[in-house]
């Protein structure tokens, strides 16, 4: 017996151009509508819909199942439920497929754009270069642009390969000891030039770091961090700011396992930010922020997805907060295994004072804390003039600090200008260590000439500070005690000192003896030529040549040596050591075949600089 509480079912055939009609009706439908089957089959479905509560379920593109609701105990209920479920799943699967398809189409479209962009640059620049082949700077400029475009093209291909490797499960993570300081330093070197190009302020700070030696996969960690910071640089406007902080924390669950530690990485920028909709898609492969502001920004849209996949594999996590127009904030946490810190090779100058010349209070405070940890006392000044005053008084009162740590810029002058004066004031061995964000390779020449003899890169790590400080203070101590200079150990090299003045010879010998180099002397140019001629080939590595000498002057002697028919005559370094300081004198010494010029009175730093330049040395 059918009741009015039973649901009714209709199958409606829909025509886009014609009126729909009822294809099938069950008894429930007749009961609910109070119509005969024949009447229902000829009824207008729209009229039925107007008078009854209907649930419509699409069956295919042309058919719909209508449920005329009255009660639940239809014999088709289970089948319909299953159908409904399947339909939902199919719709979801279709949506996923369509989304993936859209993303892949978009990826292909953007990849072809992204590949075409550098390819266009390569082809265009090649063509410009060829048409200006006589203009060397123009060609050089084109080649540099081609190099940039090629590098970018390579990174695109690498990203795609990486993603493919992760997706296919072919990528394995390594477990090896590494230095956090080295890794962060490498990251800094990679990302800083990108930020500098856009005149952005990129601050990378290492905050609370308990253990610097860790076990993990440094290569992929670097990839994660470079990707995140690289994105921040890309999606932050010129002159914007990016701040990266790296800290460590012990996991509560692992308090009894000090070998486990979490590395927290936070990257905040004030760039273009992301919409909530995009934020949901950020880790989906091939997704990129798409708006007119950044359409010119290159990228595959794989970076964040690679980052997420790598972090998942490492047991880490990543969270993102962002607001469109107001920048983004990426927070990464990674569990790592620690390796106990090793002690410095040289002892730290515990109990001594270190002078800090730094404008940034936060940097000075961090330095002071590290120094305090190492048992040293810190004095902090911000001006070059204050530093010189303080050091003059300290020297006069015999309470010189064991070292000067100097930032890159001071309130009143550049650190290099101040360092040059302090070097004269405090003598050749006094450690002047630059602590700066700069790339040492870029500033090394100017810094060493100004008298800086050590460099600690920022972000600041205690291990690096202590290693440089202990090495230089130990060396200064050894030198003041007359022991051989360990860093400047050139004992395998031999030089010829040509100097007619006995006292000058003695002073130079004393200075050179600290380096361990083997020194032979000659009292005039002729003796020098004879000594060189009589020595076996390659015997002398360097010749310091006075210019004004009796019998034969330095220019003639250098010329004669260069003309000798032996292989080392052309290659041996000859350094003019003379009081003649005119520009022309430097030119004359070069014309006579000398490699360098060292003015008198002998500047000890210059002497050491020449030795360092000539003989291979450890990088700071």
């Amino acid at each position: 017996m059918e009741t009015r509480n039973t649901n009714g079912y209709l199958i409606i055939e829909c025509h886009p151009d014609k009126q729909s009609h009822v294809l099938f009706a069950d008894s429930g439908a007749c009961a609910v509508t109070g119509s005969s089957l024949a009447r229902l089959l000829s009824a207008n479905p729209n009229q039925i819909a107007e008078n009854h509560k209907i649930e419509r379920i699409p069956l295919d593109s042309r058919h719909e199942l209508w449920i005329l609701k009255n009660c639940d105990d239809s014999p088709y209920q289970t089948v319909i439920e299953q159908l409904r479920q399947q339909n939902t799943e199919l719709a979801e699967a279709l949506s996923v497929c369509e989304e993936e398809n859209r993303a892949k189409s978009s990826f292909l479209s953007s990849m072809s754009h992204d590949i075409r962009t550098p390819m266009n640059a390569i082809m265009g620049m090649t063509s410009i270069g060829l048409s200006h082949i006589d203009e060397k700077p123009r060609v050089l400029d084109c080649l540099q642009k081609i190099q940039t475009a090629s590098t970018h093209l390579m990174s695109l291909v690498n990203d795609v390969l990486d993603m493919s490797r992760i997706a296919s499960g072919r990528m394995t993570l390594s477990e090896e000891p590494f230095s956090l300081a080295d890794m962060v330093h490498d990251i800094t070197i990679i990302v800083r030039p990108q930020a500098a190009q856009k005149h952005q302020s990129l601050q990378i700070e290492a905050e609370k770091i308990y253990v610097e030696r860790l076990i993990g996969d440094p290569l992929h960690l670097r990839q994660i961090f470079v990707n995140i910071i690289g994105n921040a640089v890309k999606y932050t406007q010129a002159e914007g700011s990016i701040r990266v902080t790296i800290t460590q924390r012990y996991d509560d669950q692992h308090t009894k396992e000090p070998e486990k530690i979490w590395l927290d990485f936070l990257c905040e920028d004030n760039g273009i930010g992301m919409s909530p909709a995009f934020l949901e898609q950020i880790f989906v492969p091939f997704e990129r922020v798409n708006n007119s502001t950044i359409n010119q920004i290159e990228g595959t849209g794989l970076g964040m997805s690679i980052v997420k996949s790598l972090l998942d594999r490492m047991g880490g996590s990543i969270t993102v907060e962002s607001e469109e127009g107001n920048g983004s904030r990426f927070h990464v946490s990674i569990p790592l295994t620690t390796v106990p810190n090793t002690a410095n090779e040289q002892p730290l100058p515990t109990g001594q004072t270190v002078l800090i010349a730094e404008t940034l209070d936060s940097r000075a405070q961090q330095l002071a804390e590290y120094l305090q940890d190492g048992g040293m006392t810190a004095v902090h000044l911000k001006n070059g003039t204050e530093v010189v005053t303080w050091l003059t008084e300290a020297q006069y009162e015999n309470r010189m600090p064991c070292a000067l740590l100097v930032g890159q810029e001071l309130s009143d002058m550049s650190a290099l200008n101040m360092a040059a004066h302090v070097r004269q004031l405090a003598g050749k061995d006094f450690p002047i260590i630059m602590v700066a964000d700069a790339d040492w390779v870029q500033i090394e020449y100017r810094a060493t000439r100004a008298g800086i003899n050590g460099f600690v890169p920022c972000p600041l790590f205690q291990s690096r500070l202590f290693a440089t400080l202990s090495e230089l203070t130990y060396k200064a101590q050894q030198n003041s005690g007359g022991a051989p200079d360990l860093e400047l150990d050139y004992s395998k090299y031999r030089l010829l000192l040509v100097e007619d003045n006995a006292l000058n010879r003695e002073i130079a010998l004393e200075l050179l003896s600290l380096t361990g180099v083997q020194v032979e002397t000659a009292e005039n140019g002729l003796r020098a030529v004879e000594a060189f001629e009589q020595a076996p080939e390659g015997y002398f590595d360097l010749i310091f040549m006075d210019i004004q000498m009796p019998v034969m002057n330095g220019y003639d002697a250098a010329r004669k040596i260069r003309q000798l028919p032996r292989k080392d005559a052309a290659s041996v370094w000859i350094v003019a050591m003379t009081a003649n300081a005119f520009v022309e004198d430097i030119r004359l010494s070069r014309e006579a075949g000398m490699n360098e010029h060292c003015s008198k009175p002998v500047n000890e730093d210059r002497l050491h600089e020449i030795l360092r330049k000539r003989f291979s040395r450890k990088e700071p």
Partner: protein
């Protein structure tokens, strides 16, 4: 002093006289040229002699400095002090070299008093170098300012041990160093004022005074007030505090009162400098309007005696107009109605400069002219900035004037050759690219090249003494300072409409085509809107320096043919191959050779006429 030192000083004085050359009224043009040639030979002879004196006398002493007896060191110091005294600078570069060596010796022997004395004098020497850098941004010269300041700072640090130092001179050096720590440019004007204020407190401190009653404390205090009063133009700097401005006001008042008293005593007119300071202070305090201040300045300038060349009159005729122009630059609305006055003011300055005694080696006038060159304003009918600079060159650096004219004319000739082969060669210059008519385009290129050449060395005016009165080759440090002439010249030219287009030539004429060498770093060839002309000027400048001014750069003098060969050797490195390619054409080389000769002759004729007229 040793005989070689006395001879060096005597030569320096003769060289100064020869370099400034006497009036031409009694000579015909050919006699004038003959005289110039003769003077030039004498000059070179003296310079070579001085170089030999240093090589044979001074450098051997440097060589054995640590074993030199005290008497010899004392003579060396006496020699240095003759090279630079309070008023005149005979050879500031050598002065610094000697004091640097003496300081090394003092540090080596740990002689405290000698360290303090050498630091003071080295600081003074560097200060003289810094005064040549007026008008250059602090960022470009911070190195020199810091070098100077740190010498004074280190010497002043011994103030803490004032009580235990017995030597009265050393105490004086400490106090003077302390006062001098505020010399030069600062990142913050307030810091400069604060330092001067602290110095005043020290100088007024009875504790110090009782410890050294023989020192001229009042003079020190007065000079420090003068120093403070000279900072008046900083009053409106954003970081100045009310206390800073008050300090300047007090000092300006004290200096003014004292000068009025002195003037009354001498039955003289009240001094112009302090009268201006007082008026300016009243303006900065809101008691005067700018209109009133400018009016007061006009009165002071009008009362200046243009027939006398005292410090006071030089200040009134040249420096005060520089400040006047500075106000008009800052407040251009004040220029309206003052154009005529300004035009007359420039005329007065030029007449004054032309009447300035030729053999007078007074650094102060150069300092004031640097100030005016920095603040100069062009009006519709005033002398153009370019012409003003030309007059300065004719009067104070005739060699540079001749060189600039030669470079301008020869650059134009080379450009003419290029344009006849490739009319679009100089189309990197916008205004030239827009010209369609070939003859007009050619003329525009030639005019542009001529002006670039004529103005390329305008920055040398800042370093006149290094170019015209250095009686020897340059030291490395001086050579580095000379590099700044490119930056100064470019900045100067860029400030006025009539010369703005040629600023790039001043900036880039010492750069290398391949970018590997040369200076300054700020010149980026590929970014320069007229790099082809700058390349031309760089090439012709190098050739002319090689054949006529080689000694300045420490190179042996070359013949014209050797210079052309030299340029070809530097093809693609220092010089554009597009230009040096033309130097392989014998006809072009011959044309250039003739232009170098005729242009030089013509420049000397202009010089003769200008001087006869003056």
């Amino acid at each position: 002093m040793q005989p070689y030192q006395e001879e060096y000083i005597a030569n320096l004085k003769e060289i100064t006289a020869l370099a400034s050359r006497s009036q031409t009224t009694s000579y015909s043009l050919s006699e004038y040229q003959e005289k110039l040639q003769h003077d030039r030979s004498l000059l070179e002879e003296k310079i070579n002699r001085n170089i030999d004196l240093l090589r044979d006398g001074l450098f051997p002493l440097f060589d054995r400095l640590f074993e030199a007896p005290p008497e010899e060191l004392a003579e060396l110091e006496e020699f240095a002090n003759a090279l630079l005294n309070g008023k005149n600078e005979l050879d500031g570069g050598l002065f610094c070299q000697i004091y640097q060596a003496l300081l090394s010796h003092a540090r080596h022997t740990k002689n405290r008093n000698a360290i303090i004395r050498c630091l003071y004098w080295l600081g003074i020497g560097r200060h003289h170098m810094c005064t040549k850098m007026v008008g250059i941004d602090l960022a470009d010269i911070e190195h020199y300012m810091s070098q100077m300041r740190l010498c004074f700072t280190e010497a002043a640090a011994y103030l803490k041990y004032f009580d235990e130092i017995d030597d009265i001179d050393t105490k004086g050096y400490i106090l003077r160093s302390r006062a001098n720590t505020a010399l030069g440019q600062f990142k913050s004007a307030s810091a400069k004022i604060r330092l001067t204020r602290q110095t005043l407190q020290i100088l007024r401190d009875e504790g110090y005074r009782e410890n050294a009653p023989a020192l001229p404390w009042d003079r020190y205090v007065y000079m420090t007030h003068q120093q403070m009063a000279s900072s008046i133009s900083y009053c409106r700097d954003h970081d100045m505090t009310a206390q800073d401005v008050t300090s300047i006001m007090e000092s300006a008042h004290i200096v003014h009162q004292r000068q009025i008293e002195e003037a009354v005593g001498k039955q003289d007119a009240p001094p112009i400098r302090s009268a201006f300071s007082c008026a300016a202070i009243e303006y900065y305090c809101g008691m005067f309007t700018l209109e009133a201040l400018l009016g007061r300045m006009e009165e002071l300038m009008d009362h200046a005696d243009t027939s006398r060349f005292s410090q006071e009159n030089m200040y009134a005729v040249i420096s005060l107009p520089a400040f006047y122009c500075q106000y008009l630059r800052e407040y251009p609305e004040q220029l309206s109605g003052r154009e005529k006055y300004l035009e007359n003011l420039y005329r007065k300055v030029i007449s004054y400069v032309e009447a300035f005694p030729k053999d007078e080696a007074n650094e102060q006038i150069f300092f004031y002219l640097r100030q005016l060159s920095t603040t100069f304003i062009e009006t519709a009918h005033s002398i153009s900035y370019g012409d003003f600079q030309q007059i300065m060159l004719i009067h104070f650096a005739p060699d540079v004037y001749v060189h600039s004219q030669v470079v301008g004319k020869t650059a134009a000739v080379l450009c003419d050759v290029i344009v006849s082969e490739d009319s679009s060669f100089f189309d990197d210059i916008d205004q030239i690219q827009q010209i369609q008519q070939p003859a007009a385009k050619r003329q525009a290129v030639l005019d542009f090249a001529m002006n670039c050449g004529v103005f390329h060395d305008v920055g040398i005016i800042n370093f006149i003494s290094l170019f015209t009165r250095t009686a020897r080759q340059w030291f490395d440090e001086e050579y580095e300072i000379i590099h700044l002439h490119t930056i100064v010249g470019s900045k100067r030219l860029a400030t006025c409409a009539s010369t703005r287009d040629y600023a790039a030539a001043a900036l880039g004429h010492h750069s290398w085509y391949d970018g590997t060498h040369g200076y300054p770093d700020v010149y980026k060839r590929l970014e320069c809107p007229c790099r082809q002309v700058v390349d031309v000027v760089g090439l012709i400048d190098w050739i002319d320096n090689s054949i006529s001014r080689a000694w300045l750069y420490g190179h042996p003098q070359k013949s014209f043919d050797e210079a052309i060969e030299g340029a070809l050797l530097l093809e693609g490195k220092r010089f554009s191959p597009l230009l040096t390619a033309r130097l392989r054409d014998k006809a072009v080389v011959e044309k250039l050779r003739q232009t170098f000769v005729s242009a030089r002759r013509e420049a000397y004729r202009q010089l003769y006429e200008a001087r006869s007229y003056a």
